[in-house]
Amino acid sequence: MSGVSFRLNGRNVISASPAVTRLSNVLRDEFRATGTKSGCDAGDCGACTVQIDGELACACLVPVAEAEGRSVVTVEGLASNTSTGQALQDSFLAQGAAQCGICTPGMLVAAAYLLDHETAPSRARIADALSGVLCRCTGYSKIVDAIVGVASAPCNVATPKAGKAVGARIARLDGHPKVSGREAYGADAIPPDALFVRAIRSPYHRAGFSFGDLDAFMAANPSIIRVLTAADIPGRNIFGVIPPFADQPVFATGETRFRGEAVAAIVGERSVIPDFDEGSFPIVWTERPAVLTPEQAEDPSAALIHENRPGNILVRGRVIRGDTDTAIAAAAAMVEGEFSTGFVEHAYIEPEAGWARRVKDRIEVTVSTQSPYLDRDDVAAILGIEPDAVRIIPSGCGGGFGSKLDLSVQPFVALAAWLLGRPAAMVYTRPESIASTTKRHPARMRSRMAADADGRLLAMEFDGTFNTGAYASWGPTVANRVPVHASGPYVVPNYRAESRAVLTNCVPAGAFRGFGVPQTVIAQEQMLDMLALKLGLDPLDFRIANALTDTTPTVTGQVMGDGVGIRTCFEALVSHWQRARREAVAFNQGQGRKRRGAGVAGMFYGCGNTSLPNPSTIRIGLKPDGRIALHQGAVDIGQGSNTVIAQIAADALGLPLACFDLVAPDTDLTPDCGKTSASRQTFVTGKAAELAGRALRRAMLRLGNAGDDAKLDIADGRLIVIEDAVVRALILERQTRDAHGYVLCAEESFDPPTAPLDADGQGIPYAVYGYGAHLAEVEVDLDLGTVKVLKITAAHDVGRAINPVLVEGQIEGGVAQGIGMALMEEFTPGRGENLHDYLIPTIGDVPPIESILIECASAVGPFGAKGIGEQALIPTAPAILNAIHHATGARITRTPATPDRVRAAITAMERP
């Protein structure tokens, strides 16, 4: 016990933790100041940034003993202990600078330090000052705007009037806790008496194992109260996000199939588990030969990773239309190419975390998740209980991007709490998160593309092999989406696209913002440039000429009929494109070693599941006190569904947004809104909210004996119905109530209308697509191969921008992830399981981003809206790669385009 005394946000505290304990842990665990976040425990992410005697420090690198006699200021004390803390918090909220919010405390603390020393810093100074804090959601733009905004003027956000919520630039409704530090993420509200769980994981890509004397281990470690293995699982030791493909065990039996797979877990007191010495666990590993690439896995001599998957093929997908061979033979120009991409890590700043407690014969799991109902069903199967005996309560989610669709801590904490009758918690370390959770699929893609002499696309062929890792996860979804999207948003009369997901001994590849499409466009959009150049056509003109329209069929034979905005997106870039190309050419007249270039890329992306049902259900209730309860089950992982769904519901109902109370996602309280993925929440859940809002409106009008054109209002607990100058007021307290306690209630579902794909992939995979095009301007150092992105101009057809601030936030964040994928991000299993070897863009790597919002409404969506979450990322990387080619003449076929690869491509060109 250290007895270290220091001031925490102006209050004297004395710590009882050991002197060497990380200050971040003391703040969080001992003083419950959980606004300070732990993202890496290594000083790499800056989420735990605090001020110590007015200087910035990562609290994870400071022994609590060093705080003795000092003053520590955290986000919770920023308003009263810094001169601009409160103004910064207000500005972050107003400007949309907090998305998931997990980096927000660190950003605020660093920004407050800056503004205490400089009153009107430049954007460059702001970047320097915030450079130690990583953000994975925002692309940093709105964070810088928020700080500039404090220095220039305070901002007020008006609350929209009835009927004016859709389209309003309102601050996110769930934003206050994110800027104050009070938002409770997966690791923030763990009960003090909770046990902790820690998994024992395979150090090898493939290994046999045998446990030693577990009883002796328990006897020697009295603070460890249970060792869990496969034998302890009451239900089935299998889970998976796509039930027919479920193949992943909670605890491996026999052998492990990837490095990082769990074989056992220890459960004990919080004081011992997080720092437990794994080397002391009694287990003997036997490393076995592993296959890490599809080439190795498809070799006939390779061992089968799963006995029921011959050839180690998990699944194949294909879309075929017309006759590509004949079309290519007759074409005026043809290009072919081969491209490949690596594993990409989601690198949300919040590692997986959650806790469970047993309530009689039910289990409650509070967890950072994107998919509460999928979690519920898998946890039920693992525990051998009914799904309604499981309650999933999503905590704040500090970033998901697809990986938090799959189970992580859920089965471990649920099993421990279920068997031991005490709350049980688990918080992944950063290395554990990187080693064991899903990644973006590495792809190897071969393609041919042909056009006639007039520049009309005639044919495309695409063959993609995706490394899906050791378990199915979302591999089937990737394999199905890819052939539908590998055409890009173009009219392609002859088309053959085939994909396959190959099992290997790598970490499972799953969902990551775009389900395989961001990889596909790296091939397809570079091929388009190659073909345009071969034909002597301007790459943007070539795209415009071949873009899909409302009346032309996609490669699955679908004619959308309305809302196809890709041509409008490309046309919105024309003037930017011409300026950028001209400026680059002028710059390159110079003799220096730098070259500039401009590149463009387009995309389309289907919203929702591919030809499979994915309904959302929204319940809206009129409460006796006159408030409106919105049961909104779409998990807000930062993208803004808590706000967007409410905006839609408000205008459908015809009442001001201020009347609404949000009932947050909870499988006991909110109907199933499906998973936060596939760019489906604004579209699918939004439509359900529109339908429910209109239904409740009809019910309220009926209650007031009024027709459809009457106006509604609520004041002083009365429902006021105004029709033809007749005003009726109903005292709501006096009305009868339904089983939910509501005076009136509407519950509506929406499932996008799709149709199955036939054996050639023809059909209606999606009810609506989102469209977009990016223009990248880059500068390449020819000697070093380094690439600096100078500007991204992003035009996106979102149908209707329900909240333009949030749409811009999605675009800016997607662009930042696209830059990472293009230039720096690659994970190699077993290497660099941390955030200093695995690099994501810092504030200095994301250039100015100009968003252009296009609204080609689609009748099927709510107020015409489409998705934007994944669309935003997809075109960035190929636009950058095309810009690198424009700058240097070098074509990058392997991402990321790290300096060594760019330099190699330039050198190869110099040597004829």
């Binding site: 425990d41 000083g43 790290t898």
Partner: protein, 279 residues
């Protein structure tokens, strides 16, 4: 478990004489090395040894206390020969890291990518090691003996970095795969003393992250001495100067690229130190 916070160097070295304790300075290497693992059981923290901090004159040169932080170095008023060190100080991790990380910690951790090493090699720096038996000095080039290996004995503390008088001007160039918070792919520091006629008098140049230990390039230094005014030193850096380097392939870059890039990074550092604008 023990956590000692000595107030003097004498007390600190006496606590180390058993040899079983782990030294903690800024913590920026120690904590990252123990993510999800037990922290060391016996720690001697140098945070309160004030005599280990700060920069002072020592004869005609300078003495940098071992626990001097990167932020203190960046903010210090020092002669132009220290420009490379001060520039490196702003490139070590983030501001948060620079506020905590110390110069002695950087040297004792002995990473091939330690940003502090090339600038100090270019300053001909030496290190002072203190133990209960007294102090000894070693040239920095002899102190770091290999990949994460040094000549420090378990009972010794790197108490100071000693920099001899240096009249030149220096520059530091770092190459990484992103703008901030990045481990170097390669980095170089050059210190150039100009002759009165504007030609180059003498040069000291060092390259890091291109071999297990950062190193001076004596052949290049000899060739550049006497280079006439107006000629960019970068024009004289060639493959032969980096052939002795033994870079590795890792997640940051392939070995061939490190050697290739070293030529350009060395050239850029030399040009800046010699007063040329960046090309």
């Amino acid at each position: 478990m023990s956590f000692a916070q000595p107030r003097s160097l004498e007390e600190a070295v006496s606590l180390l004489s058993g040899g079983a304790a782990t030294l903690l300075a800024g913590g920026t290497d120690l904590y990252p090395a123990h993510v999800g693992k037990p922290l060391p059981r016996h720690v001697v923290s140098l945070g309160r040894v004030t005599e280990l901090r700060g920069i002072s004159r020592q004869g005609a040169g300078f003495r940098l206390g071992g626990a001097t932080t990167w932020s203190e170095i960046a903010a210090a008023s020092l002669p132009p020969a220290f420009d490379a060190l001060r520039q490196a100080a702003r490139e070590v991790g983030s501001i948060q890291i620079q506020n905590r990380g110390t110069i002695a910690g950087n040297l004792c951790n002995a990473s091939p990518a330690a940003d502090g090493v090339p600038p100090l090699l270019a300053l001909d720096a030496a290190v002072e090691l203190a133990s209960a038996n007294g102090t000894r000095q070693l040239p920095l080039s002899e102190f770091i003996t290999g990949y994460r290996r040094t000549a420090r004995q378990p009972d010794e503390i790197l108490s100071a970095v000693i920099v001899p008088p240096s009249a030149g001007r220096s520059a530091f160039v770092k190459l990484g795969a992103r703008r901030y918070l990045v481990i170097s792919i390669v980095m170089a520091a050059a210190c150039v003393e100009m002759a009165p006629d504007g030609s180059i008098g003498s040069v000291r140049v060092a390259i890091g992250a291109a071999s297990p230990v950062a190193q001076r390039l004596p052949q290049l230094e000899r060739e550049l001495a006497g280079l006439a005014a107006g000629i960019r030193p970068s024009s004289r850096v060639a493959t032969r100067h980096v052939e002795s380097l033994r870079p590795i392939d890792d997640v940051r870059a392939e070995a061939w690229y490190r050697r290739d890039a070293a030529i350009h990074v060395l050239g850029a550092a030399l040009d800046r130190a010699a007063g040329f604008e960046s090309s």
